[in-house]
Subunit: 288 residues, 4 copies
Amino acid sequence: MQTKSPDTAILLLSCLDTQGIVSDVSHFIFTYGGNILDSNQHSDVQTHTFFMRVEWELSKFKIPQEKIAQAFEPIALKFGMNFKIQFSNTLTRLAIFVSQYDHCLYDLILRNREGETHAEICLIIGNHPQMKEIADSFGLPFHYTPMTKETKDEVENQQIALLKEHQIDLVVLARYMQILSPRFIEEFPNTIINIHHSFLPAFIGAKPYHQAYARGVKIIGATSHYVTQELDQGPIIEQDVTRISHRDSVRTLVIKGRNLEKIVLSKAVKLHLEHRVLPHGNKTVVFE
Amino acid sequence: MQTKSPDTAILLLSCLDTQGIVSDVSHFIFTYGGNILDSNQHSDVQTHTFFMRVEWELSKFKIPQEKIAQAFEPIALKFGMNFKIQFSNTLTRLAIFVSQYDHCLYDLILRNREGETHAEICLIIGNHPQMKEIADSFGLPFHYTPMTKETKDEVENQQIALLKEHQIDLVVLARYMQILSPRFIEEFPNTIINIHHSFLPAFIGAKPYHQAYARGVKIIGATSHYVTQELDQGPIIEQDVTRISHRDSVRTLVIKGRNLEKIVLSKAVKLHLEHRVLPHGNKTVVFE
Amino acid sequence: MQTKSPDTAILLLSCLDTQGIVSDVSHFIFTYGGNILDSNQHSDVQTHTFFMRVEWELSKFKIPQEKIAQAFEPIALKFGMNFKIQFSNTLTRLAIFVSQYDHCLYDLILRNREGETHAEICLIIGNHPQMKEIADSFGLPFHYTPMTKETKDEVENQQIALLKEHQIDLVVLARYMQILSPRFIEEFPNTIINIHHSFLPAFIGAKPYHQAYARGVKIIGATSHYVTQELDQGPIIEQDVTRISHRDSVRTLVIKGRNLEKIVLSKAVKLHLEHRVLPHGNKTVVFE
Amino acid sequence: MQTKSPDTAILLLSCLDTQGIVSDVSHFIFTYGGNILDSNQHSDVQTHTFFMRVEWELSKFKIPQEKIAQAFEPIALKFGMNFKIQFSNTLTRLAIFVSQYDHCLYDLILRNREGETHAEICLIIGNHPQMKEIADSFGLPFHYTPMTKETKDEVENQQIALLKEHQIDLVVLARYMQILSPRFIEEFPNTIINIHHSFLPAFIGAKPYHQAYARGVKIIGATSHYVTQELDQGPIIEQDVTRISHRDSVRTLVIKGRNLEKIVLSKAVKLHLEHRVLPHGNKTVVFE
């Protein structure tokens, strides 16, 4: 949980597991006057991969922010690391995609307004015009991008152009009822978060509440994941469930599910914005 | 939740939904001096089926216990009901099937000893000899029925004979690692309860914890259901889940899952023993 | 859960427990052509009190809506019942009181807009002017009623007058940071619902998140209850909890708690609006 | 979660928060050939205290096990650390205190047998003779120590002598219905774990299920904590809750509560045995 006041750097890294990584990383931070606020690590025993997240205060750090990545390069090279350094004083630039359901949209906007998520909502993109009113009421820009089978390619090009123009860091599909093309997904690897209204891998695809009703389960769920080429198969970031009973109709499942969808999507987005999620193949390491 | 002291009758019924059912049933009970302690009903709007569970005190009831079903026949005929009348002073006769994992077996025995479940454990049947010691320590009869592909038919015949001889009302598969033959299942419709160590319909079949680990889910579950011909497809009685993380290995999933398996199986058995479960096609109505 | 289409009557009653109540009530409904959709009962063994909720379709009911209560009187007299008959086609008239926190206000408005709650929000009353903007954006009337120790009596008189003028059925305190006077509470018995941001009876009174932080609990909660003369002591309608850890500061408890407050308050309001809650001394019977 | 095979060292430390701690600790481990498997840290901002848990493989570590603490002393001195080094190949020596309820006792024994907890149950001490049978059935030593007001001092002396003689590391009060004297508690600081059958700080003291029933809460809980001089006020290690309703009697609360008590106590004991708990004043830091 980032604290409000001090500027911090957050380093996320992964590499082949070996000795000396923590020692070198913490020595690097100490040498230049950084005070470690939080540090987490994980070793995946199957793939021998090491993951780390470390956050330190920048107030007395002797390397200027824009040169830290460069200064860290030698250590990264030594261990063959993938790494990324981010800063608490830099807001993540967010685009929200939405169709006709507004509950996740409202939830994301309101949490952002209350300071719960560390992001700037730069774009709301929708294929139904009535979302404009909501965007307007919060002073947020809305782009109406209706789509047919015939225009899908062209409209996606517009959307991609919009995302690039606004230097979007994270795309959130807030119950966006369109399947993104492989081409679109490739442009934004591990930076598109979707909410699926079932406890994946149960009830993949369309109408999961109808599927859950038909199967007679006693619990329903929601799953937030990064979007990959395979439908509903991307790395899971967060899931949650709620109890149901024979009294529930599909309609009441939808109502109970809305609660879950909001909570699970917002939690996943928040974890991503706090740089706590490391995708790893089809799974995630989440440093809470 | 049955109270300890007063003898009660529990009527479970289902029929086509129409007017006057509750009125006739409650009038029947009132006329003969019964005091209704608990009553639940449900209408399935898709199939127009009406379900009811009603429990009443027998102390002043004017019809002797063994003749109540017969006295109720006219109402059942009028509405075309399926019904069953059971009595709190009659213990359900239980058989527990087990393989090499003992946690569910212990859990069922201990809850029964503490008076949590209203049943007599008449038989423990196992295909691994080491469970005998546990059965012995509680003074319960153990039958060792090892099985190979070649002997399966014959051994199942022995098992069925045992169940019939001991007038077993409910069979509980407490992590019994054999698939019952269709013939076996047919003999005991909706009276075999199984525990599957996943959140069905996710991870059907073998090694669900391995499947969950491979998929990278953030929550695992357990499901208790009546056994039907299709593997892991029977009517679900109870499910529960627990949160996991990237830190969990298959081994720790197994440990966390054991907790769930015990709780979910015992809950389902308890609901069945209190005559709260009405199967309905591939689903259940559970009057908690 | 009320279904959308058919008009229904909902009868809530309590009386001394005796034989024949269910029989008489269901006979009454059947006689006049009502089809029972849902029925629940409960007997409190300590006080020998019987509680019932029964809901039936009105489409073919032979008594006009406005005369049903009168027609039921003889049965009520016979058993000495407290009873109330309400109708699904009559919207409950709601007033929401709010201070400077807007999350519960938004949550109540949005759920109402989505048809999740069966009510008309007639008034929003607040002692902080900035809530007007939110009310305006949804076209809801806002009344600004600032209050000092000196003006409390007078302002409460205005508020009570407003509630009466608008024939308010239910008052919801959506994180309203004022303690209502005994006089105010007396005017609206069991029709004021409050949300307290702790797991009552733990952490009564001011700053419960600070109290929770100081005590080092591992779980925090929220409680929704009817307001009575004793602070935070009224009949509890709904509670829920969420897990926390040593990593949480008071600030993150507040954020996690907001989620709970919204869910618990909305759930309690929904239960009340569906006429599922029967207060009983300092407790409630909730027929879910 | 410790893995089964490799021998590891676990270092728990706390000190005033300052720069360079992680760097020095990880450098120490690296220098002597240790491979860090898991590392966690926490800074308490109110008291400026730093907490750390680090676990590393011993297979190639150049310092023999019994000399590691000594070798670490200079770093501990530099930062003014409280620290403790423990080893996965050393079983914690456990004593379980029990009265007439056996569910927690069974649960602790069975989980230990299944390898879920890393401990040796050396003593079972009880003030009711019937627990002997359970202890016997698992081949565990039982000491019967009945107690009256008059003999309390003397009996406690015997108990303390037993604990010392058997070099007990951890005392678990498994629903032990006696209040330990201050003198007893002083002998075993932060090494006595109790289970209280409520969601503390709600319902402190005797008969919490009766208190919960009287208050009409919708959720009950259980709390495991280190025993300190003030009753039910010690540092909380773990809590959990379960949902109840108006249908529950005190008797069914007791049954539902037993489930919680077992789970919460075993979880707390497991966390302690894996050296994941650092008491801090009246709170705990738990590195899960």
